[in-house]
């Protein structure tokens, strides 16, 4: 079963013309009419939640799914997990599939976390003995402490995620399918999940990942698929697809409510009236003091980041801007914010420029999220992604994240016995 996936010419996942329609009956009687007439009388309505989806993934690659609610992402993951059958088209999965479609699916609330590890494991087709061999690893990864022997009923949703994710990865599948479940995890565990997913990729496993966070999609996935109304609106390189998606959202503000729901804030207050929330219209990187837009720089170059924002009601929603530099493994290399520097952004719209002379980052690809924050810098109104990742090249061969200022003096004229030797002499 696993032999075929290591072949370099093989695909881990092949999906051809996949479609899924749900049948909808108005009354239970309609079903009998259909049965009675042997299908000649069609009494059901069809709702296509997936149509004409095609893609292939090689072992070791990862694909992110993005799109609005109800765009068909979860349906696609369900069909790929083998939970529901396609209505048209076909698919082929090579190797073992583990899916994490919902937090706590298959958990029994009255049983302890430890007991649930076994329950979940046997549900996935493992024996108790096999799970016994894995249980310590799972408990260690989940880091639930004494809670592991408490009923799952007492767990928070974040703890449920810890347990569910730990089990899903411990069974070591060839293909890992994860629906939007990370949102409830704390930053520490999210980082752990992401590291684990990286190590999966390195071991030639395939990952399908669905998230509303385009940032995560870019972080984790080589490829991405943007679903819109059950169809693929864009697919291919994850940076390209997420850019297309962001661009679409930017262009369609106000047209479609669901699209807005994800990343462009336009929430309603509890009275139902629409409240205009602040948002970032655009953000770009330029060489300092010029109009040359660039995303490829050399260590030591000077750049400025321009952020166009609007804030319809500054009195109700004071804002701050933050800019982060993140390496692809989620290490934050730098983070700046107007609130951190004690500044205030006033007015209903504007262009704010962050000048950064002499960027000393060493070679690598960096994600540069622009954050629109509330007055305390706590709540995140929006996380805006630059059109491209920032690629830094180094001319030096320093290692690490930054080039620290330094100079070498090779033959200094200080006395040769080192302090440690002199101190030893004195002590004797």
């Amino acid at each position: 079963m696993t032999g075929s996936i290591s072949r370099s010419d093989g695909w881990a996942i092949e999906v051809e013309g996949l479609g899924k329609a749900y049948r909808m009956y108005k009354r239970p009687l309609d079903r009998f009419v259909e049965w009675g007439s042997a299908g000649r009388l069609q009494r059901h309505g069809q709702f296509w939640s997936l149509r004409d989806v095609n893609f292939k993934l090689r072992p070791g690659s990862s694909m992110g799914l993005c799109g609005a609610n109800g765009a068909g992402k979860s349906t696609l993951l369900k069909v790929l997990s083998g939970i529901t059958a396609p209505t048209e088209g076909r698919l082929k999965m090579r190797g073992r599939v583990a899916s994490l479609l919902e937090l706590g699916a298959g958990f029994h609330l009255d049983f302890t976390g430890r007991a649930n590890i076994f329950m979940n494991g046997v549900m996935m087709g493992f024996s108790r003995r096999e799970m016994a061999a894995k249980v310590d690893e799972i408990i260690e990864f989940a880091e639930l402490g004494n809670y592991i022997d408490e009923p799952v009923r007492t767990y928070s949703s974040g703890m449920g995620l810890r347990l569910g994710f730990s089990i899903a990865v411990a069974v070591d599948p060839d293909i890992l399918i994860i629906d939007e479940v990370f949102a409830v995890g704390d930053m520490y565990f999210q980082k752990k999940c992401i590291d684990k997913i990286y190590s999966f990729k390195q071991r030639n496993k395939t990952i399908l990942f669905c998230s509303h966070s385009l940032y995560d999609v870019r972080q984790l996935c080589d490829e991405a698929l943007w679903m819109r109304d059950g169809r693929a609106a864009a697919q291919g390189d994850s940076v390209y697809v997420t850019n297309e998606y962001t661009a679409f959202q930017r262009d369609h503000i106000g047209e479609q409510k669901e699209v807005l729901g994800d990343e462009i804030p336009n929430a309603s207050d509890h009275l139902g009236a629409s409240v205009k929330l602040p948002r970032i219209r655009d953000a770009r990187v330029y060489r300092l003091g010029t109009e040359e837009e660039t995303y490829e720089i050399t260590s030591g170059d000077s750049v400025e980041i321009r952020v166009w924002w609007e804030n319809p009601d500054p009195a109700a929603t004071p804002i701050h801007l933050g800019v982060g530099f993140l390496r692809q493994d989620m290490t934050t290399c730098g983070g700046m914010g107007t609130h951190l520097d004690g500044l205030e952004l006033e007015g209903t719209s504007g262009c704010t420029v962050l000048e950064m002379p002499n960027v000393k980052l060493l070679a690598g690809q960096f994600l540069v999220p622009i954050l629109l924050l509330d007055e305390g810098g706590v709540h995140k109104y929006q996380e805006f992604l630059l059109p491209e990742n920032l690629v830094v090249r180094s001319v030096t061969r320093d290692v690490g994240l930054f080039r620290l200022d330094h100079a070498w003096r090779l033959n200094d004229d200080r006395p040769v016995p080192a302090p440690v030797e002199r101190e030893a002499e004195e002590a004797r």
Binding site: I83, A105, R128
Partner: protein
Amino acid sequence: MTPPPEAIAVDASDDGWITSDPPGPAHVVRRLVGLPTMLARHRDLIYTSVRRELEARFTGTLLGWLWPLVYPVFMFVVYYFIFARLLDLKLPDLPEGLEASMGIYMFTGILIWSGFGEGLVRATNVIVENGNLIKKLAFPTEILPLNMVLTHLVTMMFGVVAYVAVLHGSALFMETPIFPPPTAMLAWIPVLLLLQIVFTFGLGLLLATLQVFVRDTIQVTTLLVTIWMFITPIFWVANPEVMSSIEPFLDSLAFNPLYHLIYAWRVVLMSRQPEIAFVGEDSFIGSLGIFAVWSVAVFLVGYTFFVLSQRRFADEV
């Protein structure tokens, strides 16, 4: 770690493709042939689920694991007093001191029936009940009704073991035993159990699948199981010499599979003494054979219906 099987809620064809084609006869045959292997591979799932189900029912209660015994004993006492005492129904020509035998007769009947009937009703609802699981996890769904059938069979076996122990105890320590204890015929129990599992599981699969599409099934099943219980000789004796009023219905009794099952169980548990009322022409092996044919037939129908409908479960529950 050996790799577990791939998703089986929707299965792939031989070349590994999952398509939109509805499953055909070849598919059903492949699933049937593969069933024993699948069950063997998931034995830990079955074991864990049955144990969990039993624990959920009995642990934490005051009487705990005595509960599986309380129900049949309670039924025995009630029926014994109503039928044997109040209505003065007795088995004919019983040796002195064995007045309890009508109670024994009803007890064995109700014990076996509870193993079958309760398991069937629970199995009918179990797929719909676990809808959320079916929508989120890929696992062999047929294990759900099987678990219900097995859980109630285990509960029944508590009663069977207690029954055998009590009769042997009474034969050893009492001057006039309650009833002659069963002996060598007990060796047939594994055969009876196997056939009963196959029959109940097959019927359970059929009804559980139907329940996914028609939610009235569980209501109708509950009703029919009650009627079925009364038309099966559990509280009455299928012998015109004992109950002359039932003579016109005796012929149709041969078409009731549960009559054959309970008859066979009683032969095993009641050591088939000539003085105990059984219909004359019936033989143990004959009834066992008829029930075996019923079991296989019901199972084939039920499992086929299940396999053909299974890929739509996640959309319907």
